[in-house]
């Protein structure tokens, strides 16, 4: 049989060692001696059940130690005196008799000591100490509940081991959870459950390569590409720029770092927007064509208006952008267009013949482009996601045999023909369209809106051409799916998700501070204008103040003196007799008699005459009654004596 106090004491001393141990090297030498001797003394005292000093001396010593060290406390020297005081308090607690709350005090002080040690140094010993401390304190608390119930409780060996095992489940469980929640989960790169839905087939979406013919079909993917907060725009303006592919190798278009080019953006109307990207694990920062600049994210800006983040976007991100709608990129003269005129050698003769014919008809790039567009229309090409041209000669097959394909086919064949007609051309990848959510005031852009179009250099201007619009079914197959409109439910749900992403996941203190600073600046701009409004505003304010004063006075008039007296009396009674509330069903005299309060009884008698006696209340009454209320408030249990 073991007394419950024994394991409790053992745990308590263990906790003290864990708490004071990491702090020990930082203590004053005298305090070290004190705490060591207190520890040994405490163990001896507990064994003999005889304590050297009682609570009075303990309190006196506590005050003494506190006074000694508090004089050392100042702003530049906070922690060392504080931890010394903590350890001394703990020493005193160890040496005195221990009841339930004293154990609790010891646990708390030991925890504080351990926490204090982290302020002085944070070495590797802190973690095991903390884990052991949590374990010890939790088990100790369980034992303490038993001890508190019956200090003389005795348990046999089996009961004790069951109790300890059960108590140990608490800290062990919580430590495992802690490990999972705070150590493992935040360090995973991807959502944990992603392995449940691996990618099985090619889906539409943005990609940094254009490979027409790589897949036989495409599956629409409705997942969110990004959300852009801005005003509602015309559908033909919704070209979201991602990347520019300037080089073609075989059938694959890709991006090589462009040479330094001197470009200017001309024309267009400015627009500001805020884009929230989900986790993409990519670098591209989408912008509304044509972008001027971005802020809110560290990024690299290239001359062909492609923005990339410095790091991979492994978490959700919000940034602000500024663009010009309908602007053009102007290339200053003296540059080398060779890179934009390269064509692969494997193009079929039919394609070369088309280009040859156009080249011979005219020299003007404008007319050449018009002829090319005419050729596209004449081919009766249709926009489709299935039964696509094969991978060997996709462009030839697309233009002359199958005559069906999606944007990559249109854009890459058009760009190649432009290049063959000696017009510099490149592909731009991004998204076209977006569903405007008027609840949240943003465009929702999904992966199935991914799009590729062409930029051609004519007259030193890069011009946007979307060859997909030349398909015979462009309005039904290309544009219509991008303007379906969303149901209210979807809009609401998506809006909630957007708010959550913006307000919680992407919360950025600096952005909020910027916002505050901006609004402060705007306020300062407004204030000078306010000064001119001073006089009418002052008159208005004065009028409002007068009205509210009148209202207050009227209310005061409406509160009868009886009402005021009753409220004062009830408040005084509640305070004096520590009542919760005055029951509305007890009469004045009844309550006063129950409370046995002489002043209250006098008040009740006098006030009843006023309330129920149909006499007008006089100033004399008010004075007397107020005096009685004061007497109730100030009397301290002498009600009986004065009666």
């Amino acid at each position: 049989m073991v007394r419950i106090k024994v394991p409790l004491d053992v745990l308590t001393y263990l906790v003290v060692v864990l708490g004071v141990g990491p702090l020990f090297p930082w203590l004053d030498p005298t305090v070290r001696v004190v705490v060591l001797s207190a520890f040994i003394g405490g163990v001896l005292c507990d064994m003999r059940q005889h304590y050297w000093f009682g609570p009075r001396i303990a309190t006196a010593l506590t005050i003494l130690f506190f006074a000694l060290y508090s004089v050392q406390l100042n702003l530049s020297n906070v922690v060392p005196p504080a931890v010394n005081i903590l350890v001394l308090l703990l020493s005193i607690r160890l040496l005195t008799e221990k009841q339930g709350r004293h154990y609790l005090q010891i646990f708390v002080l030991a925890l504080f000591c351990l926490a204090g040690s982290s302020l002085l140094s944070l070495n590797i010993a802190y973690l095991p100490a903390l884990i052991l401390m949590v374990t010890g304190v939790t088990i100790g608390l369980v034992l303490l509940t038993f001890f508190h119930r019956d200090p003389g409780l005795r348990l046999n060996r089996r009961q004790l081991s069951t109790l300890l095992k059960t108590a140990a489940m608490l800290p062990v469980g919580s430590l495992i959870l802690m490990l999972l929640l705070f150590v493992l989960l935040p360090r995973t790169q991807y959502p944990l459950w992603n392995f449940l839905n691996p990618k099985v087939s090619a889906t539409t979406g943005f990609s940094e390569l254009v490979r027409p013919g790589a897949f036989a079909s495409n599956i629409a993917d409705k997942s969110v590409a990004f959300r852009a907060e801005c005003r509602e725009l015309a559908p033909e303006d919704l070209y979201w720029r991602g990347t520019v592919m300037n080089t073609v190798e075989g059938t694959v278009w890709k991006r090589v770092a462009p040479q330094r080019e001197r470009l200017r953006i001309v024309g267009g109307q400015p627009i500001n927007y805020t884009i929230t990207l989900p986790t993409t694990n990519d670098r591209f920062l989408f912008t509304l064509d044509l972008p001027l600049n971005l802020e809110g994210v560290r990024h690299r800006e290239e001359d062909d208006r492609v923005f990339t983040a410095h790091r991979r976007l492994d978490k959700s991100l919000t940034y602000r952008g500024q663009s010009r709608l309908g602007a053009q990129l102007q290339q200053e003269s003296g540059w080398d267009p060779a890179i934009y005129l390269n064509v692969p050698p494997t193009l079929s003769s039919r394609i070369h013949q088309v280009a040859e014919r156009i080249r011979q008809q005219t020299d003007s790039p404008y007319q050449r482009m018009a002829l090319l567009q005419e050729f596209f229309r004449g081919q009766q090409l249709s926009y489709a996601d299935s039964d696509l041209p094969g991978p060997s000669t996709p462009i030839d097959e697309f233009l002359f045999d199958k005559k069906r394909g999606y944007c990559e086919f249109f854009a890459s064949s058009f760009a190649l023909l432009l290049r063959l007609c000696e017009i510099p051309a490149r592909l731009v990848g991004g998204y076209l369209g977006g569903e405007y959510n008027n609840l949240g005031g943003y465009y929702l852009v999904t992966e199935d809106l991914a799009h590729v179009w062409v930029e051609a250099m004519i007259d030193d201007h890069w011009q946007r051409i979307d060859p997909s619009r030349l398909a015979v079914n462009a309005s039904s197959a290309l544009l219509a799916p991008r303007q379906q409109g969303l149901s209210l439910l979807i809009r609401t749900m998506d809006n909630l998700e957007h708010i959550w992403t913006r307000a919680v996941i992407n919360y950025d203190l600096r952005q909020q501070l910027d916002l505050m600073r901006n609004s402060g600046g705007q306020l300062r701009n407004i204030l000078p204008r306010l000064a001119t409004l001073k006089k009418p505003v002052l008159i208005l304010l004065g009028g409002l103040a007068a009205i509210s004063l009148l209202g207050w006075w009227w209310r005061q008039q409406r509160i009868t003196p009886e009402c005021g007296l009753l409220q004062r009396y009830q408040a005084a009674i509640i305070k004096r007799h520590h009542l919760q509330a005055i029951p509305s069903t007890s009469g004045l005299l009844e309550l006063a008699t129950q409370l046995d309060d002489a002043h209250a009884i006098m008040f009740a008698r006098r006030f009843s005459a006023v309330l129920y006696g149909d006499q007008q209340i006089t100033d004399d009454d008010i004075t007397t009654l107020n005096a009685l209320i004061d007497a109730i408030g100030s009397s301290s249990g002498d009600g009986q004596a004065q009666r």
Partner: protein, 314 residues
């Protein structure tokens, strides 16, 4: 204020004298009896025999200088045994009316529930009308007139319990209760006080009583209190345990009794505490509980109603 409460001190002195010397431990019943007298009502004492019901009635009538009549109700008691009857006077060759015991200021009707319903109803009618009509001639009862009826609540065999409509005619119903232990021991040691009661000198005149009743009628009943009485009556009518709540007569009786209680307390106006003090005695016997709640005590139900009606303040 003092001049309004005419004869207040005299009335109080009667209560003091009686409760101090003769009717120790019965001050509550005595006060209620006085309230009934001052507000022109009647009193029903419900208690087991031998707790001093008769003594109370007797002492009260002696001290007030009022005449006293007594009927022991039995199942063969006839209405004429109470009201009196005309007999033929041979000397004058005419019918002469012999007054029954009802022609007294205070009538003690013992064990009223033993009388036949016919007899009960004759008496209760006289209580209400304050006159007796026999063979076409009406005879007025003396003023003041108060019936103190008693009934034994525990004995049910061979009784005709008063119907609720008759109970409504009593202003106040109360029990007397056992005296406190010390007092009871003293009573046991000294024996009964019936003889001593005969020595009580009248402390008041009929004139005094009339003036006091007048003063009670002039006691102020503020509108707030009227509202309060109405709220209690209304709450009793809406209560889910109660089939029939406090009637309008019940509410009038509450007001009258509350005035008398305020008078005895030396106030010229009624306060809610007066009502709370008398409501159990005045209103409880007027409630008719639903059959499924018959086992409940009327008085407790009424007190639970009071717990839900706020006292008017300002």
């Amino acid at each position: 204020m003092a001049n309004q409460l005419t004869k207040h001190s005299e009335i109080l002195s009667v209560i003091d004298r009686l409760s101090g010397r003769y009717l120790q431990g019965k001050i509550r019943a005595l006060r209620l009896a006085m309230i009934a007298l001052l507000s022109d009502g009647h009193l029903l004492l419900e208690d087991i025999p031998g707790l001093g019901k008769t003594t109370l009635a007797l002492a009260l009538s002696r001290a007030l200088g009022l005449s006293f009549g007594r009927i022991q109700c039995t199942s063969d008691l006839l209405p004429s045994d109470i009201t009196g009857l005309s007999i033929f006077d041979r000397d004058q060759s005419a019918f002469r009316f012999i007054e029954g015991p009802i022609f007294n200021h205070i009538l003690l009707a013992d064990e009223i529930n033993r009388a036949m319903p016919k007899t009960q109803s004759a008496m209760l009618e006289a209580m209400e009308e304050r006159k007796v009509t026999i063979e076409g001639t009406s005879y007025c009862l003396p003023q003041p007139f108060m019936v103190i009826a008693t009934q034994n609540p525990t004995e049910q065999i061979g009784t005709y319990p008063l119907p609720e409509s008759q109970l409504d005619r009593f202003l106040i119903t109360t029990d007397i209760g056992y005296p406190p232990p010390n007092l009871e021991k003293e009573i046991i040691r000294d024996g009964g006080i019936r003889e001593k009661i005969l020595d009580i000198e009248p402390l008041l005149t009929l004139e005094d009583i009339e003036q006091a009743k007048e003063a009670v009628r002039s006691i102020q009943l503020n509108d707030k209190l009227v509202d309060y009485i109405f709220a209690i009556a209304q709450a009793s009518r809406d209560h889910r345990f109660i089939a029939a709540g406090i009637s309008t007569r019940g509410a009038i009786s509450m007001a009258a009794a509350a005035r008398a209680a305020a008078y005895l307390d030396g106030r010229s106006y009624v306060i809610p505490e007066d009502l709370k003090q008398i409501v159990g005695s005045v209103a409880a016997h007027r409630l008719i509980l639903r059959p499924e709640h018959q086992s409940l005590n009327n008085r407790e139900v009424l007190l639970s109603i009071l717990e839900n009606v706020p006292v008017p303040m300002v």
